[in-house]
């Protein structure tokens, strides 16, 4: 199978990327050292090519009521154009089909950004559900998307934006501005300040080059994963999938139960799970000793066994951290990890682990 490439493929090769297959796309894993790239985002600014993610616009007279049915969070909360919301899209069993950000664009409807690995199925699902609504589901393969993240991101990005987007620097988190064909949102997947920027594919390379000239470091998927893990953000496909509900994935806060008469897909199943008792929880773990928690590592608790859903080394903290799904009944703070034939004590913490460059592990949280 030929791998798909983004409009920045040549730019990645010039930057010395090690390219790997990610969900059918040839994407940069790193450009030399993923740990250095991780630190660059925590301390200065880094740019990620996320053009493999899919932009989906929902337009039409019933766009809002359609999305209020399709998504577990409630787009009616988005009262002014430019507001954004994180949400899960569920199946009728309450399992997570995908997690996504939805932006309200006023008269232009709504824009969603969905994961690359699930994009095709997501769009098919939206179109199938949308058949009984007056809506159009439109994808935008002609758009590239870059995420620029880090404490210096705003200062580096704003001078490079088209004039119509210059107000991006004043955006609050989870707000967006757009022009004719660009859009800039104060969102990201790292726990740092920054933007996610959608722009025409043919403009992507010059924008990328401008960022690099301004000292922004290219960052690959390797650091993207350790950054999001430190930020306590779930990765679709490992921390949650169609067999897990938001309630066992530390995402109960994204489910809008009110108003009670909003009939969203998966609601009945979630209400049943809530009434019968949620069986599991997704928690954060820290391994103080030497070694790295990995996906699949068995976690022993007095209330039964659990499993690491994603684990890695935290470059900011200098130790291994993980997200793990353990029995809901376990409220113990000291747990046991079975690692490569060794038994290691792990400490349970509430994610996130790191925010805005600072450890959240100690202190009075």
């Amino acid at each position: 199978m030929t791998l798909k490439t983004t409009p920045l493929h040549a730019a990645h090769q010039r930057a010395g990327a090690r390219l790997v297959d990610f969900a059918g796309w040839e994407m940069p894993l790193h450009y030399g050292s993923q740990i250095d790239e991780h630190h660059a985002v925590r301390r200065a600014a880094g740019v990620f090519d996320v053009s493999h993610m899919q932009v989906v616009d929902i337009q039409g007279a019933q766009a809002q009521s359609f999305l209020r049915h399709l998504l577990a969070n409630d787009v009616a909360k988005l009262k002014t154009p430019g507001r954004a919301l994180y949400t899960c899209m569920l199946n009728t069993d309450g399992g997570v089909v995908d997690d996504l950000i939805v932006y309200y664009r006023g008269d232009e409807g709504y824009r969603m950004v969905v994961n690359a690995a699930t994009a095709e199925g997501d769009v098919a699902h939206m179109r199938a559900v949308g058949e009984s609504w007056d809506v159009a589901v439109k994808t935008h393969p002609e758009l590239a998307m870059l995420a620029v993240q880090g404490p210096d991101a705003v200062a580096k990005v704003v001078p490079l934006l088209p004039d119509e987007l210059r107000t991006a620097g004043e955006l609050r988190p989870f707000h967006a501005v757009w022009g004719k064909d660009w859009m800039a949102a104060r969102t990201g997947y790292t726990g740092e300040d920054g933007f996610e920027i959608m722009l025409p594919a043919e403009r992507a390379e010059s924008f990328w080059d401008g960022l690099l000239r301004a000292g922004v470091r290219p960052v690959g998927l390797g650091a993207r994963d350790t950054l999001r893990l430190e930020a306590g953000m779930n990765l679709y496909g490992t921390d949650m999938d169609e067999s897990t509900t938001p309630l066992v994935s530390n995402l109960g806060w994204t489910v809008a139960w009110e108003p009670l008469d909003r009939d969203f897909i998966g609601r009945t199943a979630l209400e049943k799970q809530r009434a019968e008792g949620v069986p599991a929880q997704l928690v954060g773990l820290v391994l103080e000793g030497r070694g790295v928690l990995r996906g699949g590592t068995r976690i022993e608790t007095p209330a039964g066994d659990g499993v690491v859903t994603s684990g890695s080394f935290s470059p900011t903290l200098g130790v291994s951290i993980a997200l793990a799904r353990i029995p809901a009944a376990s409220d113990h703070s000291e747990l046991i990890a079975q690692m490569r034939g060794r038994v290691m004590p792990v400490r349970r913490v509430k994610p996130p682990f790191v925010r805005h460059g600072k450890s959240l592990l100690d202190g009075t949280r």
Binding site: H30, Q34, I35, T226, G291, V292
Partner: protein, 130 residues
Amino acid sequence: MSDTPQDLKYSKSHEWVRVEADGSVTVGITDHAQALLGDLVFVETPEPGTQASAGEACATVESVKAASDVYAPVSGEIVAVNEDLADGPERVNESPYGDGWLFRIQPSDTAEIDALMDAEEYAAMVESES
């Protein structure tokens, strides 16, 4: 393209061996191996004084991606380990044939050194694996 110095010997499991003037051998992992592993975050070296048999796991290198055993390329006593790696595992990535060496063995059978691959053979093996 990874670096494969001509003056070293190589094992199938991606260790390199350099014969020192005193007859001991220095062991590390190859440039190809460190590139495959990605950034190292922990290195566990053996205790000096332990006896290692050729092919036996005697060190562990753990990267952001995976943990991997390092095997003794030859049998003998571990006579030195690179203590600097405990706080600086990135040395293995930055200088796999220099500051990133792992341990030294006093070989008990020098014929085992001769049986290892030379640079050309190792490069050909890497090529065929990719």
